[in-house]
């Protein structure tokens, strides 16, 4: 149905249809963000022998994040006097918009996808790179040393880790012969790419953690050195937008890993095919998400100088070797 709509003449009908589906996706994502923050706090709590939020909304603290968001929206909106006002306002928008744009290409099931692009994977990488502007601008516009340092760190880190991130998926692209995410899922009907590309998967997981700037790689917002990094001066809903962008990226990156390495909506075994694809996608999604939450409560933060060395001297050579190996395997066995 979506395919027909995409190729028909433009009109108000399509506009309203896409607007409403986009709005629904936004609400779903907001719901995900709410509960992934709660899940993160709960998982971290259990791993550190604590209980975690348990007051608001029953024993499991189900309404804790909702209350937090309400508090943020009610807060006074402060713009520092010496800040660069237009950019200070624009920066959270620039940071958030691409994080929602990348969701368009992720195929949640074989029918539920917003844009079936031929260059889907490249689109994801390219658009997600735009968030760096928002972070750097936010850091600069705050007119605060710590913010600027956080922004500069985020820029260096995101640009450096984008290279191993892209190189590690080149193996997947080589085996599929396409950049289209639908084709990549269909190519995994016999075996998931985590089995064929274990090295690529590990590099991708590490580099994506750095791209999301989550712990071991959360230097841009390390609270013990930089107060809070690029969003030190932000309060209220502007700050909420930065956080929202971060968690929407978590959603998108988890979805992307599910699609690239865990076979997307495909069932685990052929005889389990009666379970709908959306359930499979959700299950795999939760497993990958749990890995990210697990990382956060397990690893200490890296040192700034080790961080760059790790990207350029360890991850990148391994990624290049992985491409060579994949090309060799493909020409010999496929």
């Amino acid at each position: 149905m979506v395919q027909d709509l995409l190729q028909s003449n433009p009109g108000w009908g399509q506009f309203i249809f896409f607007f409403i589906t986009g709005l629904v996706l936004l609400l779903v994502v907001l719901g995900f963000v709410t509960f992934s923050i709660l899940a993160e706090r709960k998982v971290m709590g259990f791993m550190q022998n604590r209980i975690g939020p348990n007051q608001v909304g029953g024993r499991w603290g189900l309404l804790q994040t909702v209350a937090d968001v309400l508090k943020l929206l009610l807060k006074e909106d402060i713009i520092p006097k010496v800040a660069d006002k237009p950019l200070f306002i624009l920066a959270p928008v620039i940071a958030f918009a691409p994080s929602f744009m990348v969701l368009a290409v992720i195929p949640f099931t074989d029918k539920f996808q917003f844009a079936d692009l031929n260059v889907g994977l490249l689109y994801y990488v390219a658009i997600s790179g735009l968030t760096v502007f928002g972070i750097l601008l936010g850091g600069w516009a705050s007119n605060n040393k710590y913010s600027l340092l956080g922004g500069a760190r985020a820029t260096a880190q995101m640009i450096s880790y984008e290279i191993p991130l892209v190189m590690s998926v080149l193996g997947v692209i080589l085996l599929t012969g396409s950049l289209n995410l639908n084709d990549i899922v269909h190519a995994q009907e016999k075996a998931w790419f985590i089995l064929l590309q274990p090295i690529g998967f590990i590099i991708f997981l590490i580099a994506s953690t750095a791209e999301l700037s989550r712990t071991p790689f959360d230097l841009p917002e390390s609270e013990s050195e930089l107060v809070a990094g690029y969003h030190t001066e932000y309060t209220g809903f502007r700050w909420a937008f930065f956080m929202l962008a971060e968690y929407v990226y978590l959603f998108a990156m988890t979805g992307l890993i599910t699609v690239l390495f865990f076979g997307g909506w495909l069932p685990l075994f052929g005889f389990l095919g009666f379970i709908p694809g959306s359930v499979w996608f959700a299950l795999k999604f939760c497993v990958v998400l749990f890995i990210y939450l697990w990382f956060r409560s397990t690893f200490p933060r890296m040192r700034a100088d080790k961080l760059m060395e790790f990207a350029w001297k360890i991850l990148m050579p391994i990624a290049i070797a992985n491409i060579m190996l994949t090309a060799l395997i493909k020409s010999l066995f496929f």
């Binding site: 660069d84 502007f133 600027l148």
Partner: protein
């Protein structure tokens, strides 16, 4: 002229690109200029999408987002914070500049308006990345290899220059 979605999209993208370019020249702070530049580059990528060159569009954003951030970082590091450039030039000079711009625009308009462009039916919109790959690795293989050698030379040159500077600093 029929009013299609493509026309609407082109007008919006072209307007944003041009306004971004004009703002780049007129704004006072370096970082503001770079933000204007971002809008120009992204809307040019959008125009590539309208021309069914999705691959080029994605690469445009991928490459330029890195490049612009570097420019922005240099802009931040090499200029004083909140430094504003001053306006120079007299009224006469501005008037002459305006005349020159109008003349140039007129000449380009005349040149382009009657320029014969043959519409050749192509299949570029089908599987665009694969077609680019095939063209690069068969028809344009040698230029492609030359470019890679050139980039390698530039990379090694940059490394050598950086190293030498470090040594000089140690001797001092």
């Amino acid at each position: 002229m029929t009013f299609t979605g493509e026309f609407l999209a082109f007008m919006i993208l072209a307007l944003v690109a041009i306004i971004g370019g004009v703002l780049l020249l007129n704004l006072n702070k370096v970082v503001h200029m770079v933000v204007a530049l971002i809008f120009t580059f992204i809307s040019i990528a959008g125009i590539y999408v309208l021309l069914s060159a999705e691959f080029v569009a994605a690469v445009q954003i991928l490459i330029y987002s890195g490049a612009i951030t570097i420019i922005m970082l240099f802009g931040i590091m090499l200029t004083r914070p909140y430094d504003e450039s001053e306006e120079k030039g007299s009224r006469w000079r501005k008037a002459f500049l305006f005349l020159g711009v109008v003349g140039f625009g007129f000449a380009v308009y005349i040149g382009i308006y009657n320029f014969p462009i043959d519409q050749v039916p192509t299949t570029l919109h089908e599987n665009n990345p694969m077609q680019i790959g095939k063209a690069i690795y068969s028809k344009y293989l040698i230029p492609f290899e030359f470019i890679s050698v050139l980039l390698l030379v530039a990379l090694i040159g940059a490394i050598i220059m950086a190293k030498r500077e470090e040594k000089g600093a140690e001797e001092e």
